[in-house]
Structure formats: structure tokens, C-alpha cells
């Protein structure tokens, strides 16, 4: 019973962490272009990083 009273809350806390991580990833538009994300790793430019950074700043300004 002690094991359960520790493990059940623990699993729920971990579940909540997973839920929050998912909601965050949706809000930062990480699902917007899955094919593109897979392809971009092959591109050899640093520009992407700056674009991504600008984008996030832009979004956090919008409250998004």
C-alpha cells in the first residue's frame, strides 16, 4: 500500500509533465512542418538557427 501511495502520485506527476511538454511543443509550432524539420538537418547553413530564434522571440512577444 505504501508502494502504491508513492508510485501512483509519481506516475501522475510524470504524466502531467508529459502533458505540459506536449502542450509547449504545440504552442511553439514544432508540429508545423515535420517533413521540413527532417530535411533541414541536411542543409548546411547557420541561417536557420537565427530564423528559428527570431521566430520564437516573435512568438513569445505575441504571448504565444
Amino acid at each position: 500500500m505504501i508502494a502504491i501511495s508513492v508510485l501512483v502520485p509519481l506516475s501522475i506527476v510524470m504524466g502531467v509533465a508529459g502533458l505540459l511538454a506536449f502542450l509547449w511543443s504545440v504552442r511553439t509550432r514544432q508540429y508545423e512542418d515535420l517533413d521540413g524539420a527532417a530535411a533541414r538537418i541536411l542543409l548546411d547553413s547557420d541561417e536557420d538557427d537565427t530564423i528559428d530564434r527570431d521566430r520564437r522571440q516573435h512568438m513569445s512577444k505575441d504571448g504565444g
Binding site: 501522475i12 530535411a39 527570431d54
Partner: protein, 746 residues
């Protein structure tokens, strides 16, 4: 250009970049500070190299601040500023690196708040139902009473956010339906969820052995999946009317009697006023040209690619773009009565083609909801009479509601539609509305527009046999300096020599033609009255010092696959009709070549709509395939509609399907896929019904435990989803692509 080079070259010679730069600017979104945002659809983008090439090409254009490609949607978002007065030629830059681009048919302005809300609700419901399921498994496998009660209590807590946050959408929709005296799919869902939750809560408090929390929450979860899929398939197309009104300038310079110019707002312009239209401006209202000659681009109004040359006394229409020198127009209408304003009203009036249709899922719900409710009520009454126990009766009637939950029904249609949309997207067809698939199935008559639909809409040189090679070489070299459609047609047909001739003093006279000197001789390419000094009815002539060297006549190309499509449609017993605004001669030529007997020429947009309404009045279901603004009201009035990507923005906005590329045979593909999808939807309905048929007696006789309910519900949903996935995209037809490229190059 790695993997994608195969497709490059298909579209480039046919793209109309000249007028589109302006169209693009009109359609862009204002971000403030002079920064504007455009979204372009780039269908040929396939790989990392494509992303790199597209972004690099766009960033290289003066005025472009940022370009970001989205490979999943084959779209690129560009932020730009006006470089001086002109809008950057984004399409030209993309065409230069081999990518045909156009404005997307569907609006994708940033986020969709409804979809974001649905995804959040889905995530919460998923979290809650999975955790409750985890606890329930240990209860089902025989936990002792104390553990069971603890787990039920935790489950009740976990169910709260799912029931009250994620499920809220169902309740409000059900309430809305009920308060209007109607019933919809959400009514049994809401009643089921709330009753189940309330009963389980009661059972938890009274230490009963069964609680249905996992049933209530997984119900919400699965139904929300269906909702999310359904929402992504709902129409988010640009409003055709909004696109149309952007073609009208805000006002115009009015020439007063004393010769001064006054800028008047659109509403203050009246008939008989004299308006001065600067180069690059659009005509605000219909009128008559006062003097001289005007070159007008009517591509956005009619979809015709040839520039229109207008003489004094002839009429100009609202929305046309002045390409040449400034001119003065005497308005014949106030802007509110102009052709474009009239068209706006017609598009608005013609909406009913679509709204008349009731979606399949809604029709199913109309049957389903009353049936389930009466069954559930019946179970309650029977059990209450026979046992006299309120709790047992209530449990049974709730079990009936849960077990008949329309999970499978809610997934049956959207799942197939989303797989179908994806499959068609791979083939280059974009669907703007899920219900279009359903409407397309009932079609028995196909109506075509001619220019730009059955034909490419781009003029082509007819027969170079009668033209001396030297003359053609000279004409080609001269034409290379101009972007006039006729000049382009000559270049396209002409010979490309190693060392093109270079002319001196090349000059283009608007509305007349091109001239240049070569070795002391004056060559002119253009209208005969200008090049020869005589009028002889020919369109274009090449002259050397005033003597004719060669005559050029232009015609239009029939679109690739048009013949095949018409034959296929006829073989499948569709009625094929051609409605065109063009002259009878041109229509007969094309209709004859394609074997279309039912044809009508010289139709105004209103008459096209009336022709479609007449067909519908005798019970026909009409698919309209067209491209111009003049087709937009007809596209709206028809039961389903398609437009090629080369269509005007308004044409694309009004259509249900937009197909890429230049091959009409893709329309047959759409029909085939829709037919197959309809079969799958039918199977899905049968599967869902079958499941209910088996499970209902079990529920009715009171044998349903939470375990059985969970198993039955999830298995029926999984079967429906798996069945829909059978439509999944096959391998890309590589061979056909390679073949068309060969055809295009030979």
C-alpha cells in the same frame, strides 16, 4: 538541383509571372511598418535541396526580409517590403530557379484558434483517460476492496478535467441544438458522458464494485480525435468576395473641367466623371476611353492572357490594369454598379450550390440520435418495471448509451477524408473542403470553361511552316526583348541559335509592337498598320523597311490530357458541357477537337450561372471546372467545382478543388479516389452498425461491465481507422512524371 530536377521545366514556360507580381501584392497581408507577408504554394518542393534553393532565391530578391519554407504543406512564407514602388517579383525569382509557384487556395493566416483549442482539449483528455485506464486495469485484474476504492477516487479526480474541460465543446453544441428544438450527434454524447460520470461518482461514494470513469473519458478522447480530423478538413478557403474587392482601387484622380486633378474616394465617383488612370493603376469603374490608345491587362478579370488594346471610344472595365501610358476614362457607371461590383454580388448570391448539401455525418446523426435515446429510455423503463430498482435501471440505460457511443461513427467519415485529402495532395490536388468529396460523388454532369481550363490560356504560334527560317530567327531575336504574350509565344516557337542577332535602337511601342535596327535595316514586329502602314486583318507581322517578311498567327493550346479526360468522362456516362465567354468560332474549334457536342459560346457570367441552375433544375448534379473571375459565380453555383492553379485568385478561392500542373487527366484520378473513398466510408458505416447490432443486446440485457465497454469501444474505433488507412497513398507514380517531362521537352 538534385532530386527534383525531373519536375522542373514542366511549368515554367507557362507561368504568367508578369501580372502575378501585382496580384500577389494585392493578396498579401499587412504586418505593419510597411512589412507585408505573402504565402506561396510551391508544389514542386520535395527535399532539403529544394528548401535551400527556394529560400536562397527568395532572400536574394531585393525587398525580401525573410523567407521560410514549409515542406509538409509545400508552402513558403515570405516577409517583404516594397522596394520603392514596385512589389518584389517573388514568382519570377522562383521561376528562375525552376519552381512554379502560386497563391494558395486556402487561407492559412497564422493559427487557427479553434484547432488549437481542440488539440489542447484532446491532449488533456488523452492524459486523463490513459491514466484512468492504467488504474482501471489493476481494478479489473482483481484489486482488493480498499485499493479499488482508492483507485476509483483517484480516477474520479482525474476524470474532472476531461469531463469539464475537454468535453465542454460537446455540451455547448448539444445545448445549442436543444435550445433551438433540434437534436444532433452531440446530444446523446453529452447525455452519455454526463450520466456516466454522475453515476460513477455515485458508485464511488457508495463503494460499488464498478465505475465507468475510463469509459466516459476515453469516449471524450476518441470523439475529440474525430473532431480534430474533421476540423482540419473544414473549409478554410479564402473568401472569393474579399479577393475580388481588393482589385478595386480605393479611389481615383478625377479630372475637373478646369483641368485640375482631384483625388476622390470610390464612393464619391459618379457616372460621367472623367478619371485619369496612371500607368500601373487599376480602373476603378466601367467607362469609355476618351482618346488615344490603352493597353490593358484583364488577366485577373477574365483569365485571358492576351493584353487588351483599347481605342478611343471603346469601353474599359473595372479592375483592369493599365500597362501603358496614362489615359483618361469617362465613367459610364458609378463604382457600385461596375462589372466587378456586379460580380461580387453574383458570387454572394450564388453560394447556395454548397450550402444546400447536408453532410453525410449530419444526416447519419439525424437518424442516430433519436434511435439511441429511445433505446436507452426503453432499457430504463423495462428494467425499472421488471426489477423495480432505480439504480440497476439507470446503470443499464447508461450502459446502452456508452456502448452505442458514436465513436466509430464519428471517425468513419473524417478519417477517410483526411487520408483521401493526403493522397490527393501527393498527386497535386488540393481539397479545400471535406464535404466536397461527398458532393463530388453525386455528380452526373461536368461543365467546362474553355480559356485557361480546356486550353492553356497562353497564346501559341500556329504553324511555323510558312515562315522562312531567317525571318523566324529575326523575329525571335526581336521578340526576346519583350514580355508581351505574343512576343513570348514567338520566342517559345522560335529557333534558339548559338549567337542571337543583336539589334540596335530596340524600342517597344505600346499597343503597336517592337522595332530594332540591324545593319542599317529597320525591322518591325507588330501590328500590320504600324509595321507595314496598311491594315490587312493579320494580327502580327514582321517587316523589313516597311515590307512584310512573315505573318504570324496565334492560337491556343489544348491542355494536356483534355482529350483523354473528355473521353473518359463520356465513357463513364457523364454529360459534358462547354460554357465559354469566348467567340463561337473559337469555342467550336476547341469543342470540335475534343468531341464536345453540348457547347455554348459568348456567355456572360450571369448566363453561365443560369445555365448551371437550369441543369440543376432538371435534377442534374453539376461539377464546374473553370478558372477565370468570370467563372467564379458559376464555380460557386455548381454542386462541386475545380480550378487549375493557373486560375485567377478569385477562381481558385471559389473552387472546392485546385489541381496543380497542366495535365487535366488528374481530374479522373480525383473521381477514382473519391469513388474508392466512398466505398470505404460505406464500409465504415456498416462496420459501426454491425458493432452496435452485436453489442446492443449485451448492453440491453445488463451484462456490460466497464471492461467489456472499454474493449468494445476501442476495438470498433480501431477497426474503422484501420479500414480508412487502406486508402493510404501508394508510391508516387515516378514513371509517369518522367514520361511527361520527356513529352514536354520533345
Amino acid at each position: 538541383m538534385s532530386c527534383c530536377s525531373a519536375e522542373i521545366g514542366l511549368g515554367v514556360p507557362l507561368s504568367r509571372t508578369n501580372s502575378s507580381a501585382e496580384e500577389l501584392a494585392i493578396a498579401s497581408r499587412d504586418l505593419g511598418n510597411g512589412l507585408r507577408q505573402s504565402v506561396l504554394s510551391v508544389p514542386a518542393m520535395h527535399c532539403a535541396a529544394c528548401i535551400g534553393a527556394v529560400e536562397a532565391a527568395l532572400v536574394g530578391v531585393p525587398g525580401v526580409e525573410r523567407a521560410r519554407a514549409n515542406l509538409s504543406l509545400r508552402r513558403v512564407t515570405i516577409e517583404w517590403k516594397r522596394d520603392g514602388h514596385a512589389a518584389p517579383d517573388l514568382l519570377g525569382a522562383l521561376a528562375a530557379v525552376g519552381y512554379d509557384a502560386n497563391l494558395p487556395a486556402a487561407e492559412i493566416d497564422g493559427e487557427d484558434p479553434t484547432l488549437a483549442g481542440l488539440v489542447r482539449a484532446l491532449a488533456v483528455a488523452g492524459f486523463c483517460s490513459m491514466n484512468i485506464m492504467l488504474l482501471s486495469v489493476s481494478v479489473w485484474s482483481g484489486a482488493d476492496e480498499a485499493t479499488r476504492q482508492t483507485f476509483h477516487a483517484i480516477s474520479a479526480l482525474l476524470a474532472l478535467p476531461a469531463v469539464f474541460y475537454s468535453g465542454a465543446g460537446f455540451y455547448s453544441s448539444a445545448w445549442q441544438a436543444l435550445s433551438h428544438g433540434r437534436t444532433n450527434m452531440d446530444v446523446p454524447i453529452s447525455v452519455g458522458i454526463l450520466l456516466t460520470f454522475a453515476l460513477s461518482l455515485y458508485d464511488t461514494v457508495t463503494n460499488a464494485p464498478h465505475a465507468y470513469f475510463e469509459a466516459a473519458t476515453s469516449l471524450i478522447f476518441v470523439l475529440l480525435i474525430g473532431r480534430v480530423l474533421d476540423h482540419t478538413m473544414r473549409r478554410k478557403a479564402r473568401s472569393a468576395v474579399a479577393a475580388l474587392t481588393r482589385l478595386i482601387p480605393r479611389g481615383a484622380n478625377v479630372l475637373q473641367n478646369d483641368g485640375s486633378l482631384d483625388f476622390l474616394e470610390l464612393g464619391d465617383i459618379k457616372a460621367q466623371m472623367r478619371l485619369r488612370i496612371a500607368a500601373g493603376d487599376r480602373v476603378p469603374t466601367d467607362g469609355v476611353l476618351e482618346d488615344g490608345r490603352a493597353e490593358l491587362d484583364a488577366a485577373l478579370i477574365t483569365g485571358e492572357s492576351l493584353w487588351r488594346s483599347v481605342l478611343a471610344g471603346e469601353s474599359v472595365r473595372a479592375g483592369e490594369l493599365n500597362l501603358g501610358n496614362p489615359f483618361v476614362v469617362r465613367a459610364t457607371n458609378a463604382p457600385a454598379d461596375s462589372t466587378v461590383a456586379e460580380m461580387t454580388r453574383m458570387i454572394e448570391a450564388a453560394e447556395d450550390g454548397r450550402s444546400r448539401y447536408r453532410r453525410l455525418a449530419d444526416r447519419a446523426a439525424g437518424l442516430y440520435a433519436p434511435l439511441v435515446h429511445s433505446l436507452s429510455a426503453l432499457a430504463f423503463i423495462i428494467w425499472f418495471i421488471t426489477t423495480g430498482n432505480l439504480h440497476t435501471a439507470l446503470t443499464t440505460s447508461v450502459a446502452v448509451l456508452i456502448i452505442t457511443c458514436p465513436c466509430a461513427l464519428g471517425l468513419a467519415v473524417p478519417m477517410v477524408q483526411i487520408v483521401l485529402a493526403r493522397r490527393l495532395f501527393e498527386r497535386g490536388v488540393m481539397a479545400t473542403d471535406g464535404s466536397a468529396f461527398e458532393r463530388l460523388r453525386e455528380i452526373d454532369t461536368v461543365v467546362f470553361d474553355k480559356t485557361g481550363t480546356l486550353t492553356t490560356g497562353v497564346p501559341r504560334l500556329l504553324g511555323t511552316d510558312g515562315i522562312a527560317p531567317e525571318a523566324l530567327e529575326i523575329a525571335t531575336a526581336l521578340a526576346r526583348t519583350s514580355i508581351h504574350p505574343v512576343a513570348r509565344a514567338i520566342v517559345a516557337a522560335g529557333v534558339s541559335t548559338e549567337k542571337p542577332l543583336t539589334f540596335t535602337n530596340v524600342r517597344e511601342t505600346a499597343g503597336m509592337g517592337l522595332e530594332g535596327r540591324f545593319g542599317g535595316d529597320l525591322y518591325r514586329l507588330g501590328r500590320p498598320e504600324w509595321a507595314l502602314g496598311i491594315q490587312n486583318g493579320a494580327l502580327t507581322v514582321l517587316s523589313k523597311n516597311g515590307e512584310a517578311l512573315a505573318y504570324f498567327s496565334l492560337g491556343e493550346d489544348i491542355r494536356r490530357g483534355a482529350r483523354d479526360l473528355v473521353d473518359t468522362l463520356k465513357a463513364r456516362n457523364f454529360d459534358v458541357v462547354l460554357l465559354s465567354g469566348d467567340s463561337s468560332k473559337a469555342v467550336d474549334l476547341v469543342a470540335g477537337a475534343l468531341g464536345i457536342t453540348d457547347r455554348r459560346a459568348r456567355l456572360l457570367p450571369t448566363e453561365k450561372v443560369r445555365a448551371i441552375k437550369d441543369l440543376q433544375a432538371v435534377g442534374r448534379r453539376v461539377l464546374m471546372i473553370g478558372d477565370g473571375i468570370n467563372d467564379a459565380p458559376a464555380l460557386r453555383a455548381a454542386d462541386a467545382s475545380m480550378a487549375p492553379t493557373s486560375a485567377s485568385d478569385i477562381g481558385r478561392s471559389a473552387a472546392d478543388f485546385v489541381f496543380l500542373g497542366h495535365d487535366l487527366r488528374v481530374v479522373t484520378d480525383v473521381f477514382d479516389s473519391v469513388q474508392k473513398a466512398a466505398g470505404l466510408i460505406r464500409q465504415n458505416f456498416v462496420l459501426a452498425a454491425l458493432y452496435n447490432l452485436i453489442s446492443l443486446p449485451v448492453a440491453f440485457s445488463g451484462y456490460v461491465t466497464p471492461l467489456i465497454a472499454a474493449l468494445a469501444m476501442s476495438s470498433s474505433s480501431l477497426i474503422v481507422v484501420a479500414n480508412a488507412l487502406r486508402l493510404a497513398p501508394g508510391p508516387r507514380p515516378r514513371e509517369t512524371v518522367a514520361k511527361t517531362v520527356l513529352e514536354a521537352r520533345t
